[in-house]
Symmetry: C2
Subunit: 327 residues, 2 copies
């Protein structure tokens, strides 16, 4: 981001100072997740891969960072009124758990066709589930109704400064653990994790290249970058359930200006890589993480002098074990 400090704060929703403040705010409530390496993965991909294991984060995903930051930024009065969000995935569990920790009611609007596993997870973190029709329109409608009835604060899954700043703490921590990375790689769904990553990298190692990864079946960020303008995602088709959403107006500028390249992998490559990691690393990772390693395998294989130390954010490990893609 070749801008002065003032231009930056005008153009972007989140500053490096926001990420540092978030990091201090949530330090005692999150897990400082470990960084794993795996020799057979390195042999497969052709360089040294460092995996920042957010699958070991509380609630099983990096989403707990942003959710905690957002909830902890709320005033006592806001906490009494509660929070509301709509999500069928990791954000739902993260908001429920982060709210429970501060004694705040979390209203989670979930589509009626959400799996029992996902509902059980939200319930186990004390979330109050309201079911809706499985359409974005109905999710938003029901959320607004709850918000109006209760006065709860809406915390969306990615397009929110506190969420972006919270997710940025992951890359911040990662660069302290491995200070010699040559490239930072992260998946792109709605862009919350990637935007936070951009801000953190820009503050610590401004020259570090950043690569994003998307599944071929939901490549809206890739397309947006090609066109130079924001293209929304329609009809996503991928097993990477965390990466089906469109970018938001707060996240697109980071992807537009700071992400050097967007890599792609299809679901077949993702499934194969997911099984490889489970078998060799003994780490349970989601398809939305396996897609990153699958795309890296192609990319590194095509390079004459690949980066020696590749940092990969492994976003989560919440998988329905009774419905695995290779069975």
């Amino acid at each position: 981001m070749q801008t002065t400090k003032n231009e930056r704060s005008e153009r972007y929703a989140v500053s490096f100072q926001d990420v540092v403040a978030a990091s201090q705010r949530i330090a005692t409530v999150i897990h400082k997740t470990p960084v794993f390496t795996c020799e057979s993965l390195d042999r497969l991909i052709g360089t040294r891969i460092f995996m920042k294991c957010e699958n070991f984060q509380k609630t099983g995903a990096f989403k707990y960072r942003g959710a905690s930051n957002a909830v902890m930024r709320m005033t006592p009065d806001q906490r009494i009124a509660g929070v509301v969000t709509h999500s069928s995935g990791n954000h739902a569990g993260a908001i429920a758990a982060a709210s429970q920790r501060v004694g705040c009611t979390a209203h989670i609007v979930m589509p009626s066709n959400s799996t029992e596993v996902k509902k059980a997870a939200v319930r186990s973190y004390g979330g109050a589930i309201t079911e809706c029709l499985p359409t974005l329109a109905d999710r938003e409608k029901v959320s607004v109704e709850i918000q109006q009835a209760t006065g709860a604060t809406m915390i969306p899954p990615f397009n929110h400064p506190d969420i972006i700043a919270g997710q940025g703490t992951c890359a911040l921590e990662f660069m302290k653990q491995v200070p010699y990375l040559d490239v930072m790689v992260s998946p792109i769904g709605g862009g919350g994790l990637m935007s936070g990553t951009c801000v953190a990298v820009d503050g610590v190692q401004p020259k570090l290249p950043i690569w994003g990864v998307e599944p071929t079946g939901a490549a809206d960020a890739h397309e947006s970058k090609l066109k130079g303008e924001w293209v929304p995602q329609t009809n996503p088709e991928t097993i990477c359930d965390g990466l089906r959403t469109s970018l938001g107006d707060l996240t697109w500028p980071f992807i537009r200006d700071r992400v050097d390249e967007i890599l792609l992998a299809d679901d077949k490559q993702t499934t194969r890589m997911m099984q490889f990691i489970w078998e060799r690393s003994k780490l349970i990772i989601e398809p939305s993480c396996a897609v990153v390693l699958a795309a890296l395998k192609e990319k590194i294989g095509s390079m004459d002098s690949p980066p020696a130390h590749v940092g990969v954010i492994i976003g989560g490990g919440n998988v329905d074990l009774t419905n695995l893609p290779w069975n």
Copy 2:
């Protein structure tokens, strides 16, 4: 083991000094595996559980410790002649990988009905597979033939001093990482890991209680302890494929004299616990590890004042992902 040093060395195949020497010998070739905790597991079992994660050991199991120790104790001439063993499980991969590291041929005798996954693992570590009939008699016969033809050194899976000493390095490391354990818990198959654990605990924390765990379908150590004499395992029936074997004459004395109690769990409890750990901890663990946590859940639940800090050796994470017990 209430014995003098001399009595001890007469009665037991391995001394604390052997374990310490093994630990120094293999220090640079093994992974120092991490210790994991999981809040939802603690809530489920009712006390604080520390998991020594040997599923992250090279080749995916603690067996690499004993195999490395045995191979590294061999003379240059012995290494040239190679090693031979019969195993369809984790010992096979461990011997192959440890041998490959020192440039020594590993002849692995595997039953013809071994899964392709297991054969592929042995091959990937450079092991030379010879197939045999799926009977213990034929496994031994073929192994002896190879031994006679090549002069290779036989390294059995557990009933061998170098193997026992190598496996003991796991508990030794564990007690350094968590010096305030109130009980040490480990599974019992052939008894190699448990014997090494007894020696290590006896040398570092002689008053620390040791609990063993077996599946109800292969409870030979439990029965042997009850009768006060070694009872071999016949017709084991359990999904815990690492725990089907009988104790050996070198391992039985440790279990007889130093293990305070043997807990049991059935396959249904084991399967349920395995799924819980995969879902909550994001760790891939084998049935032979899940059985330990399942038995602990029963045991801790029945105690008025359970131990506050329970150390559990998680032996391995090699699982056929296309054939999971809950599917």
